[in-house]
């Protein structure tokens, strides 16, 4: 039985449990739900949970443990000499598994039964050829010990699988029986189900925390390597970023941080006013039709691959800004510039601000608007002084999201702002950002264990701490100015 099938059966049992539980609860009170503590459905759900959750947990654990156990058992059957010829146990086992999978097909193809299969001898039959016939490609001939291991693997995994199916189904049935037996009109079924749901919800929010730990952990290890190779003082206090291919690079952080801030700032300068005004227009002024069309249309902007924006920056916006602004104003003649990247990125970020803000603004109760209009305020005054403050937390969230995207964007910066790290205030100069350098150092041709590559991890970690600080500030601001209606 495959895992999918077992899952289906367990779920089926759980559904059955739901129905039975519901009925049992109802019949316990003579069909009058009023005397039950909770709605009958909750009794059903509690049985469902008791049936499905332990069984599925068992299934998952088993599915994780079985291969490991099986592997170590079977691997023990193969003599060290054969393992050596494969290079590693892992590789032998890969072959063992492939052969084991193939044996079924071989048996079917050749009309062999179990005893026939068991009698197969690697030194007598051309196993590689026979397996190839049934579409199992092997890299080399099959050693006898490997074939034996594969047979063992096959039969044992069959047994274990059966065992798993039995165990899981038993667990499900036991859960079902127990939960059904427990049902009592006074049982707090709703509380039980809700407690469970709450644990589930909390578990979900822990995923986010776990992600953070994962990120920090995966960055820290390599960052430590980096700081072993490269002095942290140079990294944190040097103002030059100029990596060399062959080593001897200067990897100062600040030009990149400056570029990141500058580009993001310009991007937000474009996207926040435009997005916010668009959101206000959509929710306060636009008719139903305009709204139904414009909102999803603007959201497409978020879905256009960044490479399109990058090319747009490179081919259209960059030269335009150079010819019409930078050169006439004597600010340089670079076609890639912070301004270019910022502008184009700003366009991409409009929907992040507009759509979310629009939903939040829409959620401000009408009575707030009425109160303001009733005092003779114009729409714009109402929006600025009543609605926006009330919607502030959501809007800040939207802006943070946009800022986050701006910080994390690479393609637009590479094509729009260039790849040169520079500390400059002229917005028409080429600059680059932390993220761009993370990507480029990580995917470059330099050797991995060099500071030039490992700096990517240190950059990642620094950026992480940096944005964390920004977020704390944002949280404090929101806390301070939050206005709760009703």
């Amino acid at each position: 039985m495959s895992i999918g099938l077992i899952t289906l059966i367990v779920l089926g049992l759980a559904v059955l449990g739901f129905i039975l539980g519901r009925q049992r609860a109802l019949s316990a009170v003579g069909g009058d739900p009023r005397t039950l503590h909770s709605l009958p459905g909750y009794y059903g759900w509690s049985v469902f949970l008791f049936t499905a959750v332990p069984a599925l947990l068992l299934l998952v654990t088993w599915a994780f443990v079985q291969p490991t156990a099986l592997n170590s058992h079977v691997a023990g059957m193969i003599p060290a000499a054969d393992v050596a010829s494969y290079g590693s146990t892992q590789l032998v086992m890969a072959d063992v598994r492939r052969i084991a999978d193939g044996l079924d097909a071989v048996a079917r193809n050749a009309g062999l039964d179990e005893t026939g299969l068991a009698a197969l001898r690697a030194d007598l039959t051309d196993m590689r050829g026979r397996l190839a016939e049934v579409g199992v490609a092997l890299g080399s001939n099959v050693a006898p010990s490997v074939l034996e291991a594969a047979k063992e693997y096959r039969s044992l995994s069959g047994t274990l699988r059966l065992g798993m199916a039995l165990a899981v189904l038993l667990a499900a049935l036991a859960g079902l029986g127990f939960a059904l037996w427990r049902i009592d009109p006074r049982q707090r079924a709703r509380n039980l189900v809700e407690q469970f749901t709450l644990v589930l919800l909390a578990g979900c929010s822990l995923i986010a925390v776990a992600t953070t730990f994962g990120i920090v952990a995966s960055l820290v290890v390599e960052s430590v390597h980096f700081f072993k190779l490269y002095d942290f003082r140079d990294f944190f206090f040097s103002l030059t970023w100029s990596p060399r291919f062959g080593g001897g690079s200067e990897l100062g952080l600040w030009p990149l941080v400056w570029g990141t801030l500058y580009v993001s700032f310009i991007a937000l300068l474009v996207s926040v006013p435009v997005g916010l005004m668009a959101a206000i227009y959509l929710s306060e002024y636009a008719g139903k039709k305009v709204r139904a069309f414009a909102k999803p249309a603007i959201e497409i902007l978020a879905g256009i691959p960044t490479i399109v924006y990058g090319l747009f920056a490179l081919i259209t916006v960059g030269p335009f800004l150079r010819d019409w602004f930078a050169q006439p104003m004597g600010l340089g003649s670079s076609s890639s510039s912070v301004m270019t990247a910022g502008l184009v990125m700003g366009i991409m970020l409009i929907p992040f601000v507009s759509s979310l803000s629009d939903d939040i603004i829409n959620a401000v109760p009408q009575s707030m608007r009425d109160g303001s209009f009733g005092l003779g305020a114009t729409r714009s005054e109402t929006v600025k002084q009543v609605i926006l403050p009330a919607a502030l937390p959501g809007i800040v969230g939207a802006i943070l999201l946009a800022a986050s995207r701006a910080i994390g964007e690479t393609m637009i910066v590479v094509m729009g702002a260039g790849a040169a790290a520079k500390l400059d205030v002229n917005p028409f100069e080429a600059m680059t950002t932390v993220t761009v350098k993370i990507v480029s150092q990580l995917t470059g041709d330099t050797e991995f264990a060099s500071p030039e590559t490992l700096v990517a991890f240190a950059l990642g970690l620094t950026l992480f701490c940096f944005t964390l600080a920004l977020n704390v500030v944002a949280l404090v601001i929101v806390r301070k100015y939050r206005e709760q209606y009703e």
Binding site: I315, G318, A419, T443, F448, S450
Partner: protein, 321 residues
């Protein structure tokens, strides 16, 4: 896993895909999966260990480094085969409508270096047009798109163009005199920072697009890329030699580098089709001077026969020299 997995240099990537495609068509094995991601990352993945969830082959646009070999060792990857598949030519090209250029490394050094020798003295580079660099050039503004420091191509550019130019122009001598042996040599590679030399972290298509937006710029490309875009680009000579597969194979054209891939020997015989793929790759049908790789712009290795033999014997690479 039934398919071969390959990762690494994006310069080798197109060649590898051409071979993979032909391999998938003509053999019973599935088409290999070929990833880019850069030589460094490719070699790192190769050295992550032996087993199904590690890759089989790492493409690389430069030779493997000792640190990678050490990493491989610690992870149990003892034997690696090195396969040199040919050479990559690096060319200098500008917009098709622009003037012709005949460069020497000295010209490039004098155009892009931070400090140049003028009248026997080291001075900061102030050249604005190519005519400032070399009177025989047109007075076109200097604007060079060179590979970013992440690219293997940049290493070649540094060594074969800048260092050579530094030496030839006498700047190296002056720099060593001024800053000492170590720092002086390093200073040869210091580029001007006034925006006339632009690092490109993207790929050649980006360089091409930038040239389309800045008609007077000169960019650095791979030979194969240039060959696919001869209608848009005009190639410059280096030391009087026009880059082509022939001139590079013969060694006349100076700016080129070997391309490699590295195979985890432990996977041969285990991953289906791996051996066949290796042999197919280096066969004359593919990598020979008449093969599709050459047609695409790879400079076929004059010593291909040796490589074929090594692949057939599964000879692992020796220590780096």
């Amino acid at each position: 896993r039934d398919n071969i997995q390959i990762a690494g240099s994006s310069t080798v990537l197109p060649y590898a895909t051409i071979v993979a495609e032909a391999f998938g068509e003509n053999f019973d094995f599935p088409t290999p999966v070929v990833e880019g991601g850069g030589s460094g990352a490719g070699r790192k993945k190769l050295c992550e260990g032996v087993g199904e969830n590690t890759i089989d082959i790492a493409n690389s646009s430069s030779r493997i480094k000792q640190s990678d070999i050490d990493l491989c060792k610690t992870n149990g990857v003892d034997e690696i085969m090195e396969v040199r598949i040919g050479y990559d030519g690096i060319v200098f090209a500008s917009d098709i409508a622009g003037p012709d250029f005949a460069f020497t490394p000295t010209d490039w050094y004098n155009a892009l270096a931070a400090e140049v020798v003028k009248d026997g003295k080291l001075v900061p580079n102030t050249a604005k047009t190519w005519a400032d660099v070399n009177a025989s050039f047109p007075a076109q503004d200097i604007l060079a798109f060179i590979p970013g420091t992440k690219h293997g191509t940049r290493e070649v550019f540094d060594v074969k163009v800048l260092e050579a130019g530094c030496k030839a122009s006498g700047a190296e001598e002056a720099l060593v005199a001024a800053k000492g042996e170590e720092d002086g040599k390093k200073a040869c590679l210091a580029l001007r920072t006034d925006g006339l030399s632009v690092d490109i972290d993207g790929d050649y298509t980006e360089t091409l697009a930038r040239i389309a937006a800045n008609k007077n710029a000169i960019g650095v490309f791979g030979l194969s890329f240039y060959q696919n875009n001869t209608d848009k680009l005009k190639v410059a000579t280096m030391d009087g030699v026009v880059p082509s597969t022939e001139t590079i194979a013969s060694g006349d054209y100076p700016v080129s580098r070997p391309l490699f891939f590295y195979v985890k020997k432990a996977h041969i015989g285990v991953i289906p089709g791996l051996k066949e793929y290796l042999e197919f790759f280096v066969s004359d049908d593919m990598a020979g001077p008449e093969g599709p790789l050459a047609a695409y712009g790879l400079v076929s290795d004059p010593e291909l026969a040796k490589t074929q033999e090594a692949v057939a014997n599964e000879t692992p690479m020796g220590p780096l020299n």
